[in-house]
């Protein structure tokens, strides 16, 4: 019985850490914003749940009405949540394994199609 408890507890603890780790890869700029204590997304849970709708709404505004503000633009997401490869100074694609977008989408088992057309890395000097 005791053994089971130990196994169970260690599993529980490791899964908690795994969970935290999963979202640790926030991306360069997002991490530095978070570290500075500034609040970018007032409620990450809303963003987590609603970002498809927010992006869809924004894409129609941009494409059909020419409103090119940064709020909820995919470019904005990518530029904050991209990571740089320190050795060659190049950005990783956000849809690559272990990067911000793909990490979470993989976890919840939802495929996404943004990046068959959209650029996956930010161009430096943007935003």
């Amino acid at each position: 019985m005791k053994h089971f408890l130990v196994v169970f507890l260690s599993l529980l603890v490791s899964s908690v850490f795994a969970y935290i780790d999963e979202y640790a890869n926030l991306g360069e700029q997002a991490s530095s914003i978070k570290a500075s204590g500034k609040v970018f997304h007032e409620s990450p849970s809303i963003i987590r749940k609603m970002h498809p709708e927010l992006l869809r709404h924004k894409r129609d505004k941009t494409l059909r009405k020419g409103i090119r503000t940064n709020n909820y633009s995919l470019k904005g997401c990518v530029s904050c949540h991209a990571n740089k490869n320190k050795t060659n100074n190049q950005y990783y694609s956000v849809d690559k394994k272990g990067q911000f977008c793909s990490d979470c989408h993989k976890k919840v088992g939802v495929s996404f199609d943004c990046f068959s057309c959209h650029r996956t890395t930010l161009r430096e000097g943007l935003l």
Partner: protein, 243 residues
């Protein structure tokens, strides 16, 4: 996710979030932010081009094609055959059979006022903005290519291969149709299309056709100009003089 979140709370939070975005974004850059309009485009404007074929040299046209490729990121499709490769803007020679006069044209999407591509599109992906710029909403495009068949100017291309490293302002992908956007991303910032900028002479003029003080409007009042296939009554936004 807070299950008890009601609409009002949500809006409140969204407002705060928006302010947060503004503060952070303006700290990072002021230049791009200043020129961004929050007001939808209207039909008070109609963007157009006037191409003077007498002034436009062949080198100019090559320069225009090149500028378009650089700006929008097309032309490096290695796995497509010659007939599959995209061509947003083309060099065209037209010859008057009687006099043998050869004119060189740059032909791109003519941004028709009555666009057949929009008429035939089953998904509303082909669309015309209020200011006359005709675009493909690739989110909705199913790649049926009806629009390519319907366009009298052969202005549209289909992407046949998986692409990478697109321009950040120009998403492009396999299975969707694309065409000249009149550099809408630049126009919305108050700039001129890349092809227009690449020509040193006044051979290509860009502007608001409705604005009586604009160079394009004033020039169109004095010179003789034509629309290609004017018989189709599409009222194109791209006009030509000297042919």
């Amino acid at each position: 996710m807070n299950k008890t979140l009601n609409r009002r709370d949500f809006i409140k939070i969204m407002n705060v979030t928006t302010t947060g975005v503004v503060i952070v974004a303006s700290g990072i850059t002021l230049t791009t932010f200043a020129s961004v309009s929050e007001i939808p485009v209207t039909n008070k404007k109609r963007w157009g081009l006037l191409i003077d074929t007498n002034k436009l040299t062949e080198t100019d046209i090559d320069g225009m094609v090149n500028a378009c490729q650089q700006e929008q990121g097309w032309g490096a499709e290695i796995r497509s055959t010659a007939s599959q490769k995209p061509g947003w803007i083309k060099k065209l020679k037209v010859k008057d059979k009687t006099t043998n006069k050869v004119s060189n044209l740059a032909l791109m999407c003519q941004h028709c006022e009555e666009p057949p591509c929009v008429d035939v599109c089953p998904t509303n992906a082909s669309m015309k903005r209020e200011d006359g710029i005709v675009l493909v909403d690739k989110h909705l495009c199913i790649g049926c290519r009806y629009c390519m068949m319907a366009c009298p100017y052969d202005a549209r291309s289909f992407v046949h291969e998986t692409l990478k490293n697109q321009k950040e302002h120009m998403p492009r992908g396999k299975g969707t149709v694309e065409a000249c956007t009149m550099c809408v991303h630049r126009v919305d910032k108050g700039e001129t299309p890349a092809c227009v900028e690449s020509v040193n002479s006044e051979a290509v003029i860009f502007g608001n056709l409705y604005d009586e003080s604009s160079q394009i409007n004033q020039t169109l009042r004095i010179v003789q100009s034509s629309q290609i296939r004017a018989d189709l009554n599409l009222n194109t936004g791209v006009r030509y003089s000297g042919i």
